[in-house]
Every structure is written in structure tokens, then in C-alpha cells.
Amino acid sequence: MSTVSTTAVELVDYDEAIDRFDPVIGIEVHVELGTRTKMFDPAPQTFGAEPNTAVSPVSLGLPGALPVVNGTAVEYAIRIGLALNCQIAERCRFARKNYFYPDVPKNFQTSQYDEPIAFEGYLDVELEDGTVFRVEIERAHMEEDAGKNTHVGGSTGRIHGAEYSLVDYNRAGIPLVEIVTKPITGAGARAPEVARAYVQALRDIFRTLGVSEARMERGNVRADVNLSLRPTPESPLGTRTETKNVNSFRSVERAVRYEVSRQAAILAAGGTVVQETRHWHEDTGVTTPGRVKSDAEDYRYFPEPDLVPVAPSREWVEKIRASLPELPGARRRRLTDEWGYAEPEMRDVLNAGALDLIEATVAAGASPAAARKWWMGELARTAKQREVELAELPVTPAQVGELQALVDSGRINDKLARQVLDGVLAGEGSPEEVLVARGLGVVSDDGALLAAIDEVLAAQPDVADRIRGGRVQAVGAIVGGVMKATRGQADAGRVRELILSRLGVEG
């Protein structure tokens, strides 16, 4: 067996590891809800504010302060639960998770323990090749975020070796929903891809539901990835590690791959995997041990006595269900059908982030094929050139629709259309405005064309004679001359017809 060594950690090549072991993953995703105020607290939610300014006695845990549940946060949690095909609890309580840590102002986190708001659901995740993989959801529960520690001094930014630490409580109390999967089995070698696709699908759902901006780079969505290996799919579950705060899609995939290779090396050498929390290092792509998780950790959970139970009425839940937007997976399937795209075409559209743009362009009147042609062609090239996202280009789907309408009506041809689009992208106005300002319309007035034809024929009498003499192919030279004279704004086919009839020749 070949092994590679990275800072004293033995790794087994991924494919070999998968040959010998069956990976089981479990993913906990925390999403910060985009409510105006915090989970239990009238303090505002802000990003990037001065430290400790978005706080109140409640988020600072001052003596005497009491929590009150944010109704919007409950509604968002129910939305998420319904979107994940979960059951919604008729009555559930918050609990206190007791532990001492400076970023937890009360020294307990108000969370849900044995009574989550949503439970027993699933999410069908589409992989890149179109395979659909079902991830079973155990629960989705509400809780509050902790503050943010900054460890100053020392080289690692971690608490060890730091001279002192600062705590910012602006984040303390921000509403979170934590979504916990059941053990995900059967993914085999595709476990890293499944993990990534699942987190990405959740992110898309959060955005579609409007419950969070779900910006990974801001930590709106954070994933903890559990992984264990077992000899065969029939074996009992192995010892798992929990890799914390894996905060990009790519990292989720890499972290799973890394842990598969690392644990395989340990097991293959006859060792045992330590049940522990591990840190993910984005820069080096490795995980390192955090604190050891043992049974000794006792959070002394008990029902939060300062809060009355949350009992969403069935009417309310059904009202929320009825108001759910179409979810990304369903929408994708519907549009693929409606637009008649091939599966690979649709995947390209999705990967390019063009789905919304094309949908809006179609809504503006363009055919799905034309809309795809513009966004995945000319505009995709421009975006790549300018190194921006498609949606960031200074052109709206409505304008693309208008442009296509000009083509469809014959007022411009494809070549002119590209020039009009250049004008739009250059900020010269709408397609119509650019067309007028640049004088780019197709010349459809036969009189004007005939005048141009007569001029060209007069300038090249020898060519005219040859055509009259039956050498019809010589007409090309005259057409070229006319097109040049009209700066390309003529319909070449029409020009050819007119020249031939002018010269009394059958085309």
C-alpha cells in the first residue's frame, strides 16, 4: 500500500482508502437567519458593525435580562423544515445547554435539545452528472449564535499562545437553525461529492426561501462534517471525527476526502480513530485535532424556564407551506422540461449561474433557445473577459429580450445585434436607443437599396455586363459593394434579389 506523508500524518491514497473502507458521513449545517433582530432579543442583527454595538442587556447576558422568542425566526425555521420535507412539532421547547465559555454571555446557550421544531425529513440532492442522492434529515432546530472571539498575539490566531482575547457579542444571539442529517451511507467513493452537493443544495434552498442571505464567506452558513469508516457497508458504524467550521463548498469536499485518507491510514495500520473534534485548515487542506470529545462532557440540558413552549398552530404551518416558493430542484426539473434543454445544457446553465437570467429573459419574450444563446455565448464571453459574474454585467434580462425582439422582427441581423449589445454593455442605453444612436438598423427600404445598387453597377459596368451575360455567380462582387456602401445594414439576400431583377436575370 502506498502512503504519502504530510507533516507526520500518514495518508492513504483516496481510491485505495475507498477500496478498503466504506465511508459514512454526517453533516450539521448551521444557517444564520436573516431576521431584523436577534433570536431572543430586540438588538439588531448587523454585519460588520463596531464590536459590541449591536447588543442589548439580553445579548450581553446582563443580570435580570430575559429572552423572548423571535416569531419571524420561528417562521423561518418552519419554512426550512417544510422545505426539507420534515414534520413540524406541534409543541416544542427550548433548552439550556450549560457550559462556561467567554463567548457565551450567559454561560449557557439557549437551544433545542430533545424537542426540535422540525424532524424526520429528507432532501434529494442532484450530483453533477445528474444522479439524485437522497439525504435523510434527522432534525432541524433553533438556537442562538455565540459571540466571536479574537485571540491576539501568538502566531496561529488560536487561543494557545495568544497574549489576550477579545470578545465581540454582536453575533451573540443571532438566530440559527441547525440541520442535522442522519448517517449518510451508500455514497461510497462519491461521499465527498455528496457532502458538497448537499451543503450547496441547502444554501440554494435558504436563498430561495428568503430565510438567509446564505453567504458562505460571511459565515452565514457553516458546516460541521462527521466522518467514520467501516470495513464494509454491513459493518457497524466506526468511530467518527467531527471537523468543525468547514465554510466553503470546496472545503466540504476536500475535508471529507482528507478524513477518509487519514482515518484509512490509521485503521489500515491497525490503529484506532480517536473520537474528537478537528479543525479544518483551508490553506493547507488538512484537519488537525481539537478538543477530545468524551462522554465526560455534560451540558446539563434542561428545559429553558424563561421561555414558554413554541406551539405553532397547524393553520399557521399550512399557511407557511402554501406560501413556500418553488424549490430549486423542482424548478430546475420544470424549466428543463419547459425549455426543452438537454440535461448537459441545463447543467452548464446552472454552473454558469444563468438560470435566473435566462428565466427572466424568456419572461421578456425571448425564446428559451435564444435566451440561452445570448447568456451562454456572447455574454458569458464578456463576463469571462471582464472577470465578473453574469449577473453583474450591465445588461438586464429585459434588455436581452428586447435585443432578441429586434432580431426576430428583422430590424437587425445577428451581426448588428452583437454591435447593439456592445453599445448596451458600454452604457449607451437600451437596445432601441443604441440602434438609433449608432444608426444600425437593417435597410429594408428597397428604394434606398436600389439607389445603392445602381451606384455600384455604374461603378463596375464590366461586372454588370458579365452578369447580364449569364454569369450569375459574379453577383457576389456587387452584393459586397452594396453591403459595404450600407455599412452592413442591408439584408444580403434581398440585395442579391434586387440586383438580379435590376439586370433582368433569373436568379
Binding site: 446582563l62 443580570p63 435580570g64 435580562a65 462556561f100 467567554p102 446539563r300 424556564p305 424563561d306 414558554v308
Partner: protein, 504 residues
Amino acid sequence: MTDLTRLSAADLAGRLATGEVSSVEATQAHLDRIAAVEPAVHAFLHVNGEDALATARDVDARRAAGEDLHVLAGVPIAVKDIVVTRGMPTTAGSRILEGWVPPYDATITTRLREAGLPILGKTNMDEFAMGSSTEHSAYGNTHNPWDLDRIPGGSGGGSAAAVAAYEAPLAIGTDTGGSIRQPGAVTGTVGVKPTYGGVSRYGLIALASSLDQAGPVTRTVLDSALLHELIGGHDPRDSTSIPEPLPALVDAARRGATGDLSGVRVGVVTELGGEGYQAGVRARFEESLELLRGAGAEIVEVSCPHFTYALGAYYLILPSEASSNLAKFDGMRFGLRVEPTEGPVTAERVMGATRGAGFGDEVKRRIILGTYALSAGYYDAYYGSAQKVRTLIQRDFAAAFERADVLVSPTAPTTAFRLGEKLDDPLAMYLNDVATIPANLAGVPGMSVPNGLSDDGLPVGLQILAPAKADDRLYRVGAALESLLENTWGAPLLSRAPELEVVT
């Protein structure tokens, strides 16, 4: 000239309304009385003289301008030091909060300020309200005005003693297992624990969230009703606050004062009396039952068999919740901060050193108890079982209230004991609350009314309990008993207390 400190709050309010007396005069009179008797009583941890007089001046000016004021506007009040007051030190009787000045007001404080009650100061208490004698305060003992060698009850001994010593006509207390009612009983004053959720807990430093309730401490039943109506009612900042209006308490007190209790069924709880209750306590209780019967009440005997387990359940639930509620006192954000004298200064070690130095023994005892009771593997046996007992006690109450409109018992088994007498015997101390605890476990309201003197010449109280949200029944029966007793005595009970020596 009338001694303004001897007037009831209602009487003083009347004189303020007619302009016969100004709030500045009334407030100054109480501040003078505080200065004169505090060396002997030590009811206050902080006296708020300047600020109280400023409020009084403001109220006087507004009254002069013809503004419509609250009935208690200008009547000074003392506030237990567990209620958060912006700009005024709030310690909860603990070293760990020494010097902490809260940046915000409790809802109760806001209501007092908005109604224009000058806040005279903050009253002494057992540390974090853990105790029945105020001896667990980190800031010295409060002395019972009836006998300075005796305890004023607890945890709200400061509020009760302040009212009994005429340092304040009104005070705010909090009651987790009897901390308003038992001090009321042993100082000859009135104390009311409202229905759980009837008065906002926002800004009360939590002892046990599911048991804590703030309420009035006064010398008359009517005064309690006036204060209760001011501080009670829904508060959106407290999710356990009852979202309904209070019953008409002042009306009930006035109706009761007529002394007619025809048609009222009064239940005597078998389990709250007899063995363990001082003879004088029992005698006064029996006499009062006769008075109630004479006023037209029907006296019935009711049994609440699970009350026997109340004390045990209480001492699991309270420490469990307290162990979590008190976790925030760690030296990281406010209050005392102690760094370890040797070894590395880490957050964890600072927390440990701060809590070690800042908490007193009784607080540590209950934190340890609660931490243990909530531990994995013990939760069901301790906290879980205690919650079941709680349910059984609620059912006992429900059954009893089928047969009676109110329940009565002695408030406390004995009169005030001597300072230091039970300090080394926590169990003996805990037994003081045996009659008051069931109400907290069930969330029902209770009142202690002065019920005469025991054989040792010290005051005893009679406890009245009513169903949840029927606090008005307490006031009707309490005011009736007060009026019947005062007719018998010819004067309020407190008039028989010895005059305190005053410092001039």
C-alpha cells in the same frame, strides 16, 4: 404635626392629592427616618436620597401644573436589591456584584419611575435571595424592628424591616419560596406573592426562573393592592408574563374591608399546620378562623397530600435553575473580577477565582446541589422527579380549589428566631418555608397578613392562597381579616412594636 412616616401609602397618597403634603416633604421625612434608624435596623444597602428627592420635586411640579398623576405618585418606595435599577447599584446581596451599576431598568423599576414614586433605596436580602433570614447577605444582617436581636425573615428581610420600621410606606419584594410572605409574617407586615406571570420578571436577577415572582411589601392590604396594580400586568419582555389584564385588586380590597365574607368558602389545609408549628402561631390561626367564620365565611377542611413532598421538590428545582442562572457571574463582563494569585491567568481560571471569591457559602451549596441534580444520569431521578411532584401539587391545589375559594394556613411555623440561631443548620432554615413553598411550585398567588402576636410577643402571619389569576380573592379575604383583627386590637398590629431608638 402628623408624622408622615406613620401614614399608610393610601393615606399619604390622599394627602398628596389634596396638596396638604408635598412629595418632597414625604420623601424627606422618610429619608430622615432612614438616617435615624438605619444604624439599628440596616434594612438598606444603598440609600438613593438625591435621586428620590429629585423625583419628588418633579412630581410636586407636575401636580402643581395640574397634570393627571398616578394615585401613588409622590409616595416613596424601597426596592429589593435584586431588582435592576439604572444608575443605582444593584448587588442582589452578593459580593460578586459589588459596585455594579446596571445600564438598564427592570420593568418594575420603569413602572415605578413612570408613576412618579421616589425610590428611597435598595434593600438588604439574602445573597441572590437564597435564605429565610437575610443573614446570607454579603453586606451584614438586617435586624427585626420588633426585636433587634432577631432575624427579619428572608430573603426579603430588608424590604419587610424597612416597612415595619417606617422607613418606607411601600417596598418591592421577590418571592421564590416565601421571601415576601415569611418576612411579612415575622415583621408584622403585609406581603403578597402574585400569580406566577402576574408581575414582570424582566430585570429581576433570577434565582429560579420558574418560581420567582415580585410583589408588594406594605403595612396594609389596600396599599399592597395599589402597588400590585401598578407593577402588575402584561410585559412583552417577559415571555412567561400573563397576557391578560389583572383582576380588580383595589376594588377587592375595599370590598373586603367592609368585613363581610358571606358566601366565601375558606379552606384550611390539613398539611400546613399542627406538628412543627409553634403553639402561639397555631392559637392565633385558630382565633382568626373564628373571626372569618363570624364574618360569614364557610370554613372547610381540605387535604393536599402531596404538599409533604413540596420542600424536597423545591430544593431540587430551585438549585437546578439557580446553578444555570448564576453561571453568568464569571468576571468576564460585569461585577467582581478576581485573577488567580498564582499560575496562568486564563479565562477559565479567572472565572473560577471570581466565583470562588464572589459567592457566599449558601450560594455555593445550592450551585453544587443544582449542578449535581442536572447531571447526565441523575437528571431523571432528581430534576425529573421533582417536576412530577410539582404536577401533583398543582393537582392538589386544583382539587382544593374545587371545595374552597381560598386556602389559609399560618405563613411560617414560628416567629422570628434569633440571629445566628439556624445559620449552621441549613435544613432547619429551609423548614421556615414549608408553608409558603407550595404556592411557588404551583404558581398560585399568596398573601401574608399580620395575625397577632405569639406567646413570645412577636408577630405571626396568616397566609391566604388563591387560584392562579384570582389574586383579587387574596385582597378581599385579606382586607376583611385585617379589618376584623384591627377592630379586635383597636389599632394596627405594628403600633404594638417597640419604638426604635433613633440616632439624632
